[in-house]
Symmetry: C2
Subunit: 356 residues, 2 copies
């Protein structure tokens, strides 16, 4: 069996703490399932590469990373040193664009032992997948400013949707829906207010839906959809959304299940022409960095998604089951402070690695 080559980018802040815990679990999974994973670490981050070179990445980053099968990413951002839009457009958003990771997958589920903010909901009640378009839409770099510094100052920013870009993420989402028991897809729109781009999105949803007669679908305006995430989160199965709407929904969904600190995300190039990237939804959290108490479960859960992507669904499911079993046990000595425990990042990582 050929080895999988994984580029490891811990990044900044708690990224540097949770990634080692994630690697412990991946090594345990490799042992248990007889997989060959080769890790190579890169110091691309505000706190390392930027400080030495004044850039987030070396000029030849694309050549360097292209040879890997996947990128295991912690978190990037250190706003005191580098403004967020510089660090993120200089790394994460670059990767998504240049490596054409046009699908951002974010599972959202109530986990055992995790207290959520919603009254009367238990594990199993909420379990859906947000499929976010990850390269175009509202996140464009097209636009600018005119009449600067005057009363007439005007700023324009373009939302860009392409047939190719919209159709491919919709097809991916319908394929995901087809594989799940409920076979239902929900599309996020706002065609009653955003009157050019969103009606186009709706039109493509209708067109692609015709290719998937076995999948039922509906659509909600983003304002109503956000409300339903809070009021009726059990209603959803696969939710497909533009870049911005997907960003909002994939934070809101995990907030509703109390899993914002432990939710994973996968930035995927489905054709495997470029490496895909796996990162927790949480950021570098400068406020708690350096204390060794960050929760590594998001990073570990990302490892499960990466194993799945690399073609090892059994190992992926096993890692997820290990996370759930440690959470269900709810030992305060093991869990980190965010879960009302007294444990450490490394300790929680080891507990899950042992279970694997």
């Amino acid at each position: 069996q050929r080895a999988h080559r994984i580029a490891v980018i811990p990044g900044d802040g708690i990224g540097k703490e949770v990634v080692p815990a994630g690697l412990d679990v991946l090594r345990a999974a490799a042992d248990a399932f007889d997989l060959r994973l080769e890790f190579e670490e890169f110091d691309f981050a505000c706190a390392a590469y930027w400080q030495a070179h004044g850039a987030m990445l070396p000029q030849d980053w694309q050549t360097i990373l292209q040879g890997f099968d996947a990128i295991y990413f912690g978190a990037v951002g250190w706003p005191e040193v580098v403004p967020d839009h510089v660090s993120l457009w200089g790394s994460l958003i670059q990767f998504r664009r240049v490596f054409d990771q046009y699908v951002n997958l974010r599972p959202c589920r109530l986990m055992p032992g995790v207290r959520g903010p919603l009254a009367g909901r238990g594990p199993g009640d909420i379990d859906f997948l947000v499929v976010r378009e990850n390269t175009e839409g509202e996140y464009s770099s097209v636009g600018g400013r005119i009449f600067e510094g005057t009363e007439r100052e005007t700023v324009l920013q373009e939302t860009v949707m392409t047939r190719i870009g919209v159709d491919r993420v919709l097809r991916y989402a319908f394929e995901q829906a087809r594989r799940r028991p409920e076979r239902h897809l929900t599309s996020a729109t706002k065609s009653n207010g955003i009157s050019i781009s969103m009606p186009y999105w709706d039109e493509r949803v209708r067109a692609i839906a015709a290719e998937y007669p076995d999948v039922t679908w509906d659509q909600y305006h983003i304002d109503a959809l956000a409300a339903h995430f809070v009021l009726n989160p059990d209603r959803f199965d696969v939710v497909v959304a533009s870049n911005l709407f997907g960003d909002i929904l994939s934070d809101l969904g995990p907030a509703c299940t109390g899993t914002l600190g432990i939710a994973p995300s996968a930035n995927i190039n489905p054709e495997r022409r470029h490496p895909s990237l796996f990162e927790p939804v949480h950021g570098s959290a400068p406020d708690i960095a350096g204390r060794g108490v960050a929760n590594p479960i998001g990073q570990i859960w990302c490892g499960s998604m990466m194993l799945e992507h690399l073609g090892h669904p059994a190992a992926a499911a096993h890692v997820l089951a290990a996370i759930e079993s440690v959470l269900a046990e709810a030992s305060p000595r093991t869990l980190t402070p965010d879960l009302h425990g007294t444990g450490t990042t490394a300790g929680l990582g080891k507990a899950i690695a042992e279970r694997v």
Copy 2:
């Protein structure tokens, strides 16, 4: 004392049911506080004007409505007959633009007797105000489609922010914050992803904040902010947001307090050059229309906001207190089915009118 002239537009669906209940309460308030309110009703709606004339409004609507002190609006929309973007851009969004109602105010609070979806929260815990920019931003009609019907098909939609448009809504929000006990303002941004318009928004927030040294402020990216609405809704006082972000937050906020069906909104032209418009957050709800069971509290609460705008804060507070007292009493015979009662629209309206 001069009479206030109010244009009444019940609109479609449940708008036609809740507006009469709202008028009952306004008449009671006028009696109790010795105010002169003159109502004139207009049939602008899909179900009336459109069906007779094929347009949402007569050509001279601006002249007709300009003479009024306020517009008391129900809801518009009947998607089976007129597509939503046509009916809304043909009426509500027209009013906001042409009458320069550049502030959309949406209070969000836990009300006595109303069950919310969040665990462990009671009345008084959540009480904030969303100030939404209401004329520009992401809701533009600038853009279009190129290479239609081909692989290269591309759709562009412009977000437009102007110095005048951004500054005036920010000042309004800071003024609101200044009048409240906490004196705190939160700005919704997404400058880490939407890299041209949102950094501009942030820049203007910093500039205007300097004029209000007595108001503290912070900012959150919209994804994190949506999560905090669910996790820490007690943290907010005044939240200011662009047109789209304000739309999302002002549905999400009331969803978190269980008041989505009863939340009011005010579309305000602060300079009073044009009439302001008061409408509930809910829509025309074709699914329950015609049965006389729609909850009129959103419409009645709008009446309270309208009285405030017309310069009668005591009457406004009195109407709100009457709503709260009827809700707190929680008589199942009075409350409508959405509040687990068996009452009717008219009955609940009368109960509140009597209390006033």
